[in-house]
């Protein structure tokens, strides 16, 4: 039984990491209606830039991280200024395609600047099992995962407050509802978008650091964005708590399925299981767990 819990908790903790990436998606989608496929590329870019500052310029991590944050904010604003501003009021699919183009661009840029070989990123958090749980329950739970989960929880709390309590948050939600209507009541669309993209850049930096420390900073970081998609459809595209709940469900069920169903089905089911799970789930609740109910008028 302790093995079951070990798998479950490891799954939940890795789910938190997925949720972190999904959070970036939700932020941008909620505020600008853009399904930002470049989120994965931004995570990669952030992690690589941070490592690059650290290794190439020999800066310590405590200087490299704020510097990278600055770079990400500038990147976010540049994206808004150069790409999205010119695509206002286009259909969602066009914006989506633009972000796919963007992800190619960012991937190329990141590797052009910092080289394409994989790097190691060491954060001052040790990846060791927690001794207490080890002794008492005989479970292997990494300290790193727990701290990552805490960071994620704080981030979510702050973002939830930002969205529900502040003036900017209200403006963000208005923009998400309807670009033109928001513009006509005097919400400065461009400012709002710049803010959102800057925040998305910040979230992707956090995700990039945690994922990079876990798996190494390499090109495959781009693909974790894909893992965030089932999380998103489970939780609903527009809900911050949904991203967390979706992440936990996907993380846990994926690990449990791999351990208990994998041997029966020939292994490697981690690759598609989350998607099929999300698909089946959508048949019951088409707008995800926490998504807004879509009311359609003719």
């Amino acid at each position: 039984m302790s093995f079951f819990f070990e798998v479950l908790i490891a799954g939940l903790l890795s789910g938190v990491m997925y949720a972190l990436v999904a959070l970036g998606f939700v932020l941008v989608y909620k505020a600008s209606g853009v399904f930002n496929f470049a989120q994965g590329a931004m995570v990669f870019f952030a992690a690589l830039t941070c490592v690059g500052f650290n290794e190439v310029f020999g800066l310590s991590l405590w200087i490299a991280i704020p510097l990278t944050m600055l770079v990400m904010v500038i990147l976010g604003m540049a994206i808004e200024k150069i790409v999205l501003r010119r695509l206002v009021n286009q259909p969602e699919i066009t914006l989506f395609m633009a972000t796919i183009g963007l992800s190619f661009f960012i991937e190329g840029l990141a590797q052009l600047l910092w080289g394409s070989q994989p790097h190691k990123l060491t954060l001052p958090i040790e990846d060791v099992p927690i001794a207490f749980l080890m002794d008492q329950f005989n479970m292997l739970i990494s300290q790193f995962d727990v701290i990552a989960a805490c960071i994620c929880a704080i981030l979510v709390l702050v973002l939830a407050l930002l969205f529900s309590k502040t003036k900017i948050g209200r403006a963000l939600r208005a923009v998400a509802d309807d670009h033109q209507a928001a513009l006509s009541v005097g919400i400065p669309l461009q400012h709002i978008w710049a803010v959102v993209w800057a925040v998305a850049g910040f979230v992707s930096l956090v995700a990039g650091l945690l994922w990079g420390a876990r798996n190494g900073v390499q090109f495959s970081l781009v693909y974790i964005a894909l893992k965030a998609l089932p999380v998103l459809i489970l939780g609903g595209f527009t809900s911050v708590p949904g991203a967390i709940a979706g992440g936990l469900i996907i993380g846990a069920s994926e690990k449990l399925a791999e351990v208990y169903l994998g041997p029966i089905m020939g292994g490697g089911i981690e690759g598609w299981f989350p998607y099929v799970l999300a698909l089946l789930f959508l048949l019951v609740r088409p707008e995800g767990l926490f998504g807004e109910k879509i009311i359609r008028r003719i």
Partner: protein, 352 residues
Amino acid sequence: MFYREAGQFKTTYAADSQIFPIKQDRIGIALLFACAFFVVPFVAPAYVISAILIPFLIFSLAALGLNILTGYAGQLSLGSAAFMAVGAFASYNFVLRIPGIPLLLAFALGGICASLVGMAFGLPSLRIRGFYLAAATLATQFFVVWCLTKISWFTNSSSSGVITAQEMTILEFHFHTPASKYVLTLSIVAVLALLAKNMVRSNIGRSWMAVRDMDVAAEVIGIRLMRTKMLAFAVSSFYCGIAGALYAYAYLGTVEPEAYNLDLSFRILFMVIIGGAGSILGAFLGAAFIILLPILIDFITHALALPTSVSSNLELMVFGGLIIFFLIVEPHGLARLWQITKEKCRLWPFPY
């Protein structure tokens, strides 16, 4: 001055509803076909045929399939490569396990298998739409490739999971040379493209477009949603399946399930968007653009003598940048640009 329909009077209903109502268009298309069938195979070098023209035709067909689903019926899909894989592996198994089966029949059966799979994975579209659907179609992509890799029966138990497409033979004629493969591919693509053009002009196409524009309203005016959406998935997957089979047989020769990965799906989606969603011509223009662009960028970086590590990354950047550029300049795709050019030509030299 020469491109206008002045003086071309339609006296019958048939003449009024033909595919190309303008005479100059008909002449142009006839010339294009004549050139593609009778001049190109003899003139073009083998490299151009096998590395550019054949993949161009195959990708056009796949883009056409996705365009039917996304551009006409409005169902966003990221799983087109999976349907291509189903088509390819099904055709391979039909040829392998039924001796003496005609090649075209095997392709058609492969396409039908793909459309069955497409309909199965299209079922959720009755409940969900938009990006939720797109993300859900990723399930198809990963599941199908996993299935083909894991179940060795599909690859005839080959240890590496790679299949080698059998030789293409129709009525004792062997398709060895690039030129003959090209002509076969071109014939299939031409027939299917004409079919698609007619389909989208008929009531099927109109009901697809009604569903795309607003499915609730379409249901109200008496279009059966389930049937229409399933038909769109079936036809689209059939086209993708045939394209996949050609991809294996006429282009690559040996192929593994991983060749039909998510990247391929995205490339096909790019072709549809760049070419113009909801346009048959757009599928071809988009495919040409996406095929030629990397070659062009490659050529330029070679000319500048940049190191490979720089040039490959630069290629990514230019590719991404150009996609964004095109979306900003013309969100309706190359087909729209072509249409604008034609309008201009009709008015030239007196545009008032």
